[in-house]
């Protein structure tokens, strides 16, 4: 088992876990977290590809590595914006979950009436 295999399998597992979390988590914050986990898996897969491109005395393909750094920063910006959006929505509606697809806000009602 070389580090490439380990990191590759791990990246694939993180993508799978993140995808599952994004689908089933009722809380938006957990979905954001799951999205970040999915993103970390994608970065790892990209890192494996960059590492395989090691040549000319570099530890990996520097273009791939730079792309990952850019991606990490943009993912953080997205996390910050989405959690601010969610907090604001929470302040407005007081609902712990997102309204359902029909836009009736039934989830909020169901939760409050418990």
């Amino acid at each position: 088992m070389n580090p490439l295999t380990v990191a590759g399998l791990w990246g694939a597992a993180a993508v799978g876990l993140g995808l599952y979390g994004m689908i089933v988590s009722p809380q938006p914050l957990r979905r954001i977290l799951a999205f970040d986990l999915l993103g970390s898996g994608v970065f790892l897969l990209l890192g494996v590809v960059a590492r395989r491109g090691a040549a000319a005395g570099f530890g990996g393909d520097p273009v791939g590595q730079a792309l990952i750094i850019t991606g990490v920063v943009v993912a953080f910006a997205a996390t910050a914006l989405t959690s601010a959006l969610w907090l604001r929505l929470f302040q407005e509606t007081g609902s712990a979950t997102l309204p359902d697809a029909e836009g009736t806000g039934a989830d909020a009602g169901a939760v409050d009436s418990r």
Binding site: G21, L37, F90
Partner: protein, 315 residues
């Protein structure tokens, strides 16, 4: 089995449960803490993948700063935690989601076995042109010279995200200060650390930028540390966020991209194309751009964590 092989396996065994717990934990708070620990261990994997620059970025931004942000959000949502967790989807949906996720993960794992061999790479091209940029770290050369356009646009994305966060302010505090005003025990540990650490942190942040010319480091990693120091002082109540209507703040926020754009346009004028640096000046121009970037990105990252304006400017 060599030491490194066992290290990789131990790492994998440690990290996968953390990733799992990030999704499975009942409390969001626990999930975020797992994610932060996961991100820190992930940085070790990046070192093993021969990418120390990425390791620094993942540890600082992906784990540290995201962690602070998500912990803050989770703390505000604590009261509705149980209600929200009760709204779990049906078993059928969860089974379908699990099947789909396992399929995607397995597909990716299989696809990795069929990557082209020899792997396509731009490393030789980067190595050939490295001398023209005057920097020795190939990743910095890619970020600041070969693909400078990406970095410029990335800074614009950061600024747009901050404008988005600002615009979530309720009407009555429009243009006010971001986040709550923090108070801490003046004799407490937090205030002590907030006085002790920032001088060290500022030096480390600037050092990371400076050293990134030839060694692992970078402007983003350095600015994250500066942002963390400012946030620490804010959390300890030693300083406050500036009102978002402040002209000085806005000028500082556009300084980085403005310097970058000016240098880029100068390339159009004096050199061959947009963002081309004259070879004799390349290193100097890169350092100038990076210093502007350190200031702007540091401010932007910290203010992104601080959240939307919550108080009027006078408070």
């Amino acid at each position: 089995m060599t030491t490194w092989e066992s290290f990789d396996i131990v790492l994998a065994v440690l990290v996968l449960p953390l990733a799992f717990w990030t999704i499975a934990a009942r409390e969001t708070f626990v999930a975020v803490v797992s994610y932060v620990a996961y991100g820190l261990l992930l940085a070790l994997v990046w070192v093993r993948l021969g990418a120390p620059d990425v390791a620094l970025a993942v540890a600082a931004i992906g784990s540290g700063l995201s962690g602070v942000l998500l912990l803050g959000t989770a703390a505000r949502l604590r009261d509705v935690e149980e209600q929200a967790a009760a709204a779990r989807p049906s078993l059928l949906l969860r089974v379908i989601a699990a099947v789909l996720s396992v399929t995607v993960a397995a597909g990716l794992a299989v696809a990795l076995q069929f990557l082209p061999d020899p792997a396509p790479t731009l490393a030789p091209v980067a190595a050939r042109n490295l001398a023209a940029t005057g920097v020795g770290n190939p990743v910095t050369a890619v970020l600041m010279a070969f693909r400078a356009m990406d970095t410029l646009l990335e800074k614009v994305v950061l600024m747009l995200a901050l404008v988005g966060v600002w615009s979530l302010a309720p009407d009555r505090v429009w243009g006010g200060r971001q986040g709550p005003r923090h108070q801490a025990d003046p004799q407490g540990m937090l205030v002590f650390l907030a006085r002790l650490l920032p001088p060290v942190g500022v030096v480390v942040g600037v050092y990371l930028l400076w050293v990134s010319a030839d060694e692992p480091g970078g402007a983003f990693q350095g600015s994250t540390i500066l942002a963390a120091m400012w946030l620490l002082a804010m959390l300890a109540g030693l300083t406050d966020t500036p009102p978002v209507s402040s002209r000085r703040l806005r000028l500082a926020l556009i300084a980085g991209p403005a310097v970058f754009l000016l240098v880029g346009l100068g390339g159009l004028w004096l050199g061959d194309s947009f963002l081309s640096y004259p070879a004799a000046w390349a290193k100097t121009l890169i350092v100038v751009i990076e210093i502007g970037m350190l200031l702007t990105v540091g401010l932007t990252l910290a203010l992104l964590v601080a959240g939307p304006p919550e108080r009027s400017a006078r408070q």
